[in-house]
């Protein structure tokens, strides 16, 4: 039941003083005076509190339970991030205040840039892009502008077939033609195919490493040499940097541009459509192309540098999503160099631990050690009349958020594979009981498949008809009264 359906005329939790305000408005700015109040729900404060408290109990998040959603890095977001981001010294500042008054925020952003430069091995950063795909677009626009100035015939971008769908979308948006590079049987880039495709019309290759199936790109050094020798640039999709912090730096591997999803590796809240941040780092020769303004430090004073003649322009207003950047800054400073290294090591060990426990029941897609996430197959279960979807739904009865299913997308079809990413946050006990649940479900599939086919049974919302919902889209809410 929505708050609107609970509305009873005359009840209220708060008075806006509508009549008084209207009298004032009519006197001074009559064109702004409203004729009537918008039909806001009318409920008592207690009804309001119960409504939202009950909604909150229906939610599932990392703070309530294990959330091994592969590819998404659902790590724990330390509460100190929130405390610091809510500090009035940050929240009461206005971006139109002059730089002298905003030194604290600019210093925080400058130091975050320095941290990210050190972690990635890049020379300069913009903090403006407001989400991962936005960062990809910024990075692709930088490469596009650079090639326009230096080698305009390079109009193509190579992207492995395993790449996340945002990669080809971002390259296309930036004006490139996308060419797909096939994967080899070990899950990496097919070097022969790359050799054939990498010619003087290619501006760059976009790579994710570890790649989208959770494997380290073994030939990265050879790829970098080949692409650079033939005049192309390397773009690093930082979606999976959580596996590499302190171990390897994209800049040292030969990447020229990187974007980082702060909500994954650096523990800022996951989207849900809310504000995000994806800083983009570049090597020195591309620094003039960064979006303006760039936060700089001159003689101990922090400032916004707008003087970048080759800039691709602005990617968002002001300095980007400062409150999100602040959380990442706090996370990095709290963890420190050793903490970040331990984080990546634990993320990799945890994924390999889960893989080892589950392999006898759900064989891994690739027979080699994984990085921070593992792809497991549920192919054999169709003989019991059960699909991966049913297994995932049943997992909810055991109190877990299911892993990512039917992903990665091995072209051309979505196979019966799931991607499990425990992250570094989880204890051995949590991973053990999660694996026990999946092993139990694999037994249930054989003995009592109906239990899976009708799952979930113990959740607030039981099995939904996804096909019907997708074929009959309802995009706006209508209450029972039809208003």
């Amino acid at each position: 039941m929505t708050l609107f359906e609970k509305s009873v005329a005359g009840r209220s939790a708060f008075s806006f003083g509508f009549e008084e305000d209207r009298a004032v408005a009519e006197r001074y700015v009559p064109e702004f005076a409203r004729a009537a109040v918008k039909p806001l729900p009318q409920v008592a404060e207690l009804d309001l509190v119960r409504h939202f408290t009950n909604l909150a109990t229906m939610n599932y998040g990392v703070d309530t339970g294990f959330y091994p959603l592969g590819s998404c890095t659902m790590k724990y977001n330390p509460k100190i991030n929130e405390r610091m981001a809510a500090d009035p010294r940050l929240t009461v500042r206005h971006p139109l205040d002059n730089a002298t008054d905003n030194q604290g925020i600019l210093q925080m952003e400058f130091e975050l840039k320095e941290c990210l430069q050190e972690i990635t091995g890049m020379d300069d950063f913009t903090l403006q892009p407001a989400c991962g795909a936005h960062g990809e677009l910024a990075g692709m626009l930088i490469i596009h502008a650079y090639m326009r100035d230096h080698d305009a015939k390079r109009t193509k971008v190579l992207i492995p077939d395993s790449a996340h769908g945002t990669n080809p979308a971002s390259a296309t948006m930036a004006g490139f033609q996308v060419v797909t590079v096939p994967s080899n049987e070990r899950g990496g880039v097919d070097m022969d195919a790359l050799d054939k495709l990498m010619d003087d019309t290619v501006a760059a290759i976009m790579l994710t490493n570890p790649n989208t199936v959770g494997l380290f790109e073994e030939n990265i050094t050879q790829i970098a040499e080949l692409v650079h020798a033939r005049g192309g640039l390397l773009y690093y999709d930082g979606a999976n940097l959580n596996a590499l912090m302190g171990l390897i730096r994209p800049g040292d591997l030969g990447f020229d541009v990187v974007h980082l999803n702060l909500h994954k590796t650096f523990s800022t809240p996951h989207g849900g459509g809310g504000p995000g941040a994806a800083p983009v780092g570049v090597k020195k020769f591309l620094a003039d192309y960064l979006p303006i303004p760039v936060v700089v430090c001159r003689d101990g004073q922090y400032a916004l540098d707008e003087n970048r003649p080759h800039t691709i322009g602005r990617m968002s207003g002001f300095y980007g999503n400062t409150a999100v950047l602040a959380r990442a800054y706090v996370y990095i400073k709290m963890m420190g160099r050793d903490g970040l290294l331990a984080t990546s090591r634990a993320a990799v060990i945890n994924a390999n631990y889960v893989k080892a426990l589950l392999s006898p029941y759900f064989p891994p897609a690739y027979d080699r050690p994984v990085m921070h996430e593992t792809v497991l197959s549920a192919k054999g279960y169709d003989k019991y009349g059960v699909t991966l979807l049913d297994i995932a739904k049943r997992l909810m009865d055991y109190g877990y958020h299911p892993p990512t299913i039917y992903f990665p997308h091995f072209p051309p079809y979505a196979e019966e594979v799931m991607m499990v990413e425990p992250t570094e946050s989880e204890s051995k006990e949590t991973m053990d009981s999660f694996c026990d649940a999946l092993i139990k479900i694999s037994q249930e599939a054989k003995e009592n498949p109906d239990l899976l086919l009708s799952a979930p049974h113990d959740t607030v919302v039981t099995r939904v008809n996804e096909t019907y919902a997708a074929r009959h889209l309802v995009t706006s809410h209508r209450d029972k009264k039809g208003t």
Partner: protein, 126 residues
């Protein structure tokens, strides 16, 4: 898995059937089974000229979005609006009511490069 005997097949699971010089193009029954419940069939622009292997459209199922390529070159004469309105036709009748486009063949020789029904059955034997 159903296989239409008078159609020819691409490795990427599209079929083509020629009727009176016009080619009907769609995706195979094998493909629809792999896709799962199809919930959306993308637009195809009538009058556009395509080369064999070009992107024809994309279809979305509850699991994922997949690209569909034209197995033959030519001009798009007509599009099946029934299937864009009712994507479930692709699941229930991939070779019949689920056809996607009619194409005027610019190079009928290309048909020889596609698989016969027998070869395709062998290719997709599970």
């Amino acid at each position: 898995m159903k296989i239409q005997s008078d159609a020819r097949y691409a490795k990427s699971d599209e079929w083509v059937r020629v009727e009176g010089g016009v080619a009907f193009v769609g995706v195979s029954d094998y493909a629809q089974g792999k896709l799962g419940d199809v919930v959306f069939v993308g637009d195809i622009s009538v009058g556009s000229t395509l080369k064999a292997g070009d992107l024809l459209t994309s279809v979305e199922s509850v699991k994922a979005a997949s690209d569909v390529y034209t197995p033959v070159s030519g001009k798009v004469l007509e599009v099946n609006h029934e299937v864009t309105a009712k994507p479930e036709l692709l699941n229930s009748d991939a070779f019949g009511a689920g056809w996607l486009a009619k194409i005027e063949l610019s190079n009928p020789d290309e048909l020889n490069g596609l698989m016969s029904a027998t070869d395709y059955a062998e290719y997709r034997k599970e």
